[in-house]
Amino acid sequence: MTSAVWSLQWRLALTRKRIFILNVVVPLTLVMLIATGAVPPRAAAGVYVVLFSAFAVFGSSLPLRWDGQRGMSARVVRGGVGPASYLLQRAAAGAALDTLQLTPSLVLATAAAGATPAATAGTLLALAGTVWVSGLFGTLIAAASRSITETALFSAVSVPLVAHMSGVFRTPAPGSPSALLESASPFRALHEALLQMTVRGPSTGGVALLIWAILLPGLVWVLGAPLHGALGRVTGGGLEGA
C-alpha cells in the first residue's frame, strides 16, 4: 500500500504556510485567554476539549467534503489509491498535523495549570488519540452530508453533543445511563487528563478512547468504498460531457 496520500497531506499543509501558522496561533490565542484568565479549572477543561475536538472534526470534514465535491478524491482513488486507504491516510496525516499544531496550546494550558512533565505527556497522548478519533468522525460526517454547508452544520452539532456525552458539561449521577454513556465516550480521556492537572479525579477514559481509536478506523476500512463514493463525484471528470 502506497503512503502517497500521507505524504501529500503533509506537503499540502507545509505548502500553505499561512494556514499552518494560523492553525497554531488561533487555538493558542484562545487557550492563552483562558489559561491566563480567572476561568474555573472545570470550565477551562471543558472549553479545551470542545476547542481541540472541534479543531480536528472541522479540519477533517470540510476539506474532505470539498475534495469530494470537486472530484479530487475520486481522481486520487482512480489514480490507484484504495478508497479506504485514502480516507485513513488522510485521517492519520490530519491527526498528526492537528497534534503538532495543537501541542503549543496544550503545553500552555498544562503549564498554566502547573502540571508535571509526566502529566503533560499523558495529556498530549490523550490529545493525539482524541484528534485521531475526531478526524475519523469528520470523515463520517463528510460522507453523511451532501454539501459543504451541511458538513459544517453536522460538524458544529456533533462536537458539543459528543463532548456532552463525554461528561464535559455536567457530571452524571453514578450508575445512571448517562454515566454509562460517559464511560464509553471518546472525549472523556482528554477531559479527565485536563482535569487531573488541577482538580484531581478519576482517570478511566483511556480504555474507551483506545477502543474508539481502533474501532473507528476499522469501520472506515470496511466501509471505505461506500464512504468514499458518498463524498461526491465518484466517476470524476464529468461524464456528462460524453
Binding site: 496520500v5 505548502t15 472530484g71 489514480g79 490507484g80 461524464l239 460531457g241 460524453a242
Partner: protein
Amino acid sequence: MVVPNGVEVKEAGRVPGAIRASGLTYRYAGALPALNGIDLEIAVGEVVAVVGPARSGKSTLLRVLAGLVPPTSGTVELPWRRTSAGRLMVGFAGEVEPHFESMTGRQNAIFFARAAGLRHADAAASVEEHITQLGLTEDADRPVSQYSFETRRRLLLVEALAHRPALTVLDNPFIGLDQAARSALIHILRLQSAKRGTVVVASHELSLIPELADRILFIHEGRIVTGGRVAELLGSIGQSTRIEIAFERRPQRLDAQFRVGTRVVSDGDPLVLETTRGATAVGEACAALIAVGAVIKSVTVRESDLAEVFRRVTGAELEA
C-alpha cells in the same frame, strides 16, 4: 475485478491481454443510452482511435474501457488493471481533471505516479522524462493554480503516462498542444505500442490519426458504425472527390454537362457529383451548370478523407 450493477468485468490474466467488450450499454439517468450495444476487441499493443461527433459516446466508451465506470449492461474484459504488487496499469486522462492547485505541476505528477505504485525515485525520474518530452519544463515548478488551460492539458498527459501503464486511455489528448508536443505525444504512444502497451485515444484531430493509430473506430449515437485501418477506410470510398452544389435556381437539364470522370451521384438538392479529376472538376462542373441556366448558391468539396468516410456511413457530419 468486481464492479457494481451486476456487470461482469473480468481480469484477463497476469500478462496484459486484449480488451474485449460485448453488448456494452451505458445509460445516464433519464437520458438516451450513451453506449448502445458495443462489441469490440482491441489487441495487445494496438493503438486505436475512437472518432465520432460530440455526444456520440466517445468519452463514455473510454471510461468504461479504462474500468472507471461499469457499463449498464454487457461484458468488458480488461487487461490487468493492477499488478499483484499493487501497481496501477491503466493510465487515463480525461479532458478536464482537478489538481492540487497549491502544489506545482511536478509535485502533482509525482504524487499521481506514486499513487499508481511507483517508488518516489522512479516516479520523479519518469515524471522528469515526460515533462521534458511534452514541453512542460518551464512550468513544472510553478503552482498549478497559475497554469493556463493548455499547460494543465500537458500536465494531465504527464500524469496519465508517467507510471508507464499497460493500457493508456486518453480523451482528446491533442487539445491545447502545439505541434512539437503533438509530435512528442504521438512518439510516446507509438513507443508504448512497440513495447506491447495498448493505447485507446478519442480525438477530433483527424489529421493526426493516420500517424498515431493502427485502427479507427467510428462511433455514432452510441454505436460503432464502422472501423478499420486508415488505408482500408479510405479505400472503401475510393479516391474520388465529392462536390455538393446547392442552387438558387436549378438548371433545366443536368445530364451530359460534365466531363469524363465526373458523374452525378444524387440528383437532389444539393446536387452531388463524384469526380476522379480532383479539384479542377469543381470549376468545370460549375461552369457547365451555369451555362445551362443554373444559379449556384453554394459549393462544398469533400475530399476522400476520414471525415468523408464517416459522413458516407452515417449521413452525419463528424464536426457537427
